[in-house]
């Protein structure tokens, strides 16, 4: 059970990490922030947030499993996260507004 919770959390951090990384891309920043004409001022904090979330996700995977398995789970969770975020951006972008600060 603990393992399952850790893995769900890891997946959550992977998703959040990828959402923040998506915000470092101009097109998605304009799409989500609503800012049209302003230049993208703050990709750096989002990039840091994104990478930090991905690292936390890795740490959670390692807590849940043997390290060899954890690496595979982590990489595959990021793949899933990228695809989920990409489709959310194209079908339900409003869901990702909460990542904009």
């Amino acid at each position: 059970m603990l393992k399952l919770i850790l893995l769900v959390l890891a997946m959550g951090f992977s998703l959040s990490g990828m959402a923040w990384l998506a915000l470092t891309k101009k097109a998605h920043w304009y799409q989500l922030s609503g800012e049209r004409s302003l230049p993208h001022k703050k990709p750096m904090p989002y990039r840091l947030l994104g990478y930090a979330a991905l690292l936390i996700s890795l740490a959670l995977c390692i807590l849940a499993d043997n390290i060899s398995i954890a690496i595979l789970v982590w990489v595959m969770s990021m793949t899933l996260a990228v695809i989920c975020i990409a489709f959310t951006l194209s079908f339900r972008p409003q869901w990702l507004r909460l990542f904009v600060r």
Partner: protein, 557 residues
């Protein structure tokens, strides 16, 4: 030849991708199914629907089952042609083996028999194999095909073409071209990271297809790369057979020397001797693993030269909790029962190799990761198929003038919906054919092949419509068929075994429950897609040729 690196890479990506794309979709799809091959086996063989078992007692079950093993009749007949004179009635056993994983209710046992008097090969040998119920030692019928592990899985890596290992080489070449496609794809992609999350669904068809191709290709790049590479590494000994040919001498010398250093006799003494308790050896091995803080079950048992004075028993640990496969072998003297040798800790190279092969062959117990693998494999199918659709779309005008478009489209239908149709058809056949049908497995395979061929014929026949419209009706017609067959598979499982979802979910017996659920999802999705495609075809028919329609109306008036 090409003006730039990018041009050369684009050429490679396009043409090798196109030629091998069909094949790669098949390999990726059946690879994805193989992640759950054992569970599919449970669905198709109702008599094996019980909990996974550990390796049973040697004295109570295994010894008896081993001694009843016989050489494979086909291999035996072939061996007779290789030897001088007659073969003895009872061939000498080189080893007995038993192998299981944390997902197997049944136990796979096998043997190797020495073939004497072969002038060309002093170490000639043949094999024997059986599947038993480890609870009572009963041999399960050879007629029953484990559709998951004996049909879908080998299809994934050998295409069932065993003549001169041809299938392995074709799949290997496809995997190499997958690697080439990944390298060239990365080179030609202009916005690898900038468009990592990009899917512009409101853009035109060609843009959407390309977005989807890039998205699935880049997001799953590590998966694609490592699975293509590790798949090749698994069969490297087939693709680069140096140790059996050019370097046979040093390889053999090394094997002899290694056996001697370990104290594990390479050859039998020829003196009969009693066998010590193998059960005690297995218990001792488990105790040693527990001392190493790696308590575990036996995954692989080998009894070498059974009944001989030089007999030794190797016990390997099942790699349930790590990525590596069976390992940490403990070897015992078969006659005295004393411990001979413990496998040392891996060298760095062997460790890396174990990890790479293990990540592909998946012996670990980790259900979320298994599902992620299925997801990765299906994403691979989407990536290859969209690459292919993009090619067709981009060249539609050039192709239209020739016969090309029709066949390219018909092949796409055959590869995608035809493959799915054949897959659900073999499951339906499995539930419809009575369990005691002679050669049931062969009939099932025949249904699989026939369905696939029929879907190809149908695709070519219906592609005639492409002269008038953008979409072949074969797509939605076959999707409807998939929806119907997948649903009937679930119903037939219920009717023939009584294990409907309420039963399997309540118990819960996940192998059957989740496979039923997957079939229902496939059925539903196929139905939705089929309806959408059908509407598109109708709209295209009404909308795309206004002039033709006008003419028709005029002529009617």
């Amino acid at each position: 030849m090409f003006n730039s690196l990018r041009q050369a890479m684009a050429w490679l990506h396009t043409w090798f991708g196109l030629v091998l794309g069909y094949l790669l979709v098949v390999i990726f799809f059946f690879g994805s199914l193989s992640v759950f091959d054992r569970e599919i086996d449970r669905w198709v063989l109702p008599e094996t629907r019980f909990e996974p078992q550990v390796i049973p007692s040697y004295s109570e079950i295994l010894e008896d089952a081993f001694s009843k093993l016989t050489p494979d009749p086909d291999e035996l007949a072939e061996a007779r042609t290789r030897v001088e004179g007659e073969l003895p009635e009872n061939l000498r056993v080189l080893f007995w083996g038993a192998y299981t994983t944390h997902r197997d209710p049944t136990l796979s046992i096998f043997a190797e028999y020495a073939i004497p008097n072969n002038p060309d090969d002093p170490y000639d040998h043949i094999h024997g194999h059986a599947t038993i119920d480890p609870r009572n030692g009963k041999v399960l019928s050879e007629d029953h095909l484990n559709i998951g592990s004996e049909f879908f899985y080998p299809l994934h890596y050998s295409l069932h073409l065993h003549w001169k290992n041809l299938g392995y080489f074709i799949v290997g070449f496809a995997a190499l071209m997958m690697l080439v496609a990944l390298v060239s794809g990365v080179v030609i992609h202009r916005h690898l990271f900038k468009e990592l999350f990009t899917f512009r669904r409101d853009k035109h068809y060609q843009r959407r297809v390309l977005d989807l191709h890039n998205l699935t290709g880049v997001a799953a790049l590590p998966f694609h790369f490592f699975f293509a590479l590790t798949g090749l590494i698994v069969f490297a000994y087939i693709y680069l057979p140096v140790s059996e040919t050019l370097l046979a001498k040093p390889a053999f010398e090394y094997a002899m020397q290694e056996a001697e250093e370990k104290g594990l006799p390479f050859e039998a003494a020829g003196i009969p001797a009693a066998t010590a308790s193998v059960d005690e050896m297995m218990a001792e091995a488990k105790r040693i693993w527990a001392l190493r803080d790696a308590a575990g079950e036996v995954g692989f048992l080998l009894v070498n030269h059974p009944g001989d004075q030089n007999s030794y028993v190797s016990v390997f640990r099942a790699g349930t909790d790590t990525v590596s496969l069976v390992g940490q072998g403990i070897h015992f003297d078969g006659h005295t029962g004393e411990l001979l040798y413990e496998d040392p800790v891996h060298t760095a190279i062997a460790g890396l190799n174990e990890f790479l092969i293990g990540l592909h062959l998946q012996h670990f117990e980790h259900w979320p990761l298994r599902w992620l693998y299925v997801f990765g494999g299906l994403i691979g199918c989407v990536c290859i198929a969209t690459g292919f659709l993009f090619f067709v779309q981009k060249r539609k005008r050039e192709l239209k003038s020739k016969f090309g478009l029709r066949s390219v489209d018909a092949f796409a239908v055959t590869t995608i919906t035809g493959m799915l149709l054949a897959t659900v058809a073999i499951l339906v056949a499995n539930r419809l054919l009575p369990a005691d049908t002679a050669g049931k497995g062969s009939w099932e395979i025949a249904v699989f092949c026939l369905t696939w061929l029929l879907s190809m014929a149908h695709a070519f026949w219906r592609s005639a419509a492409l002269k008038k419209q953008a979409l072949s009706p074969a797509w939605h017609e076959q999707s409807f068929a998939i929806a119907a067959l997948a649903l009937s598979a679930v119903l037939l499982n219920w009717i023939s075994t009584g294990d409907h979802l309420l039963v399997t979910l309540a118990e819960p017996y996940w192998p059957v429950a989740s496979f039923d659920l997957v079939l229902m999802v496939v059925s539903l999705l196929s139905f939705i897609i089929a309806r959408r495609l059908h509407r598109k075809v109708t709209v295209a028919l009404v909308g795309a040729q206004p002039e033709e329609r006008k003419r028709e109306e005029v002529s009617r008036a």
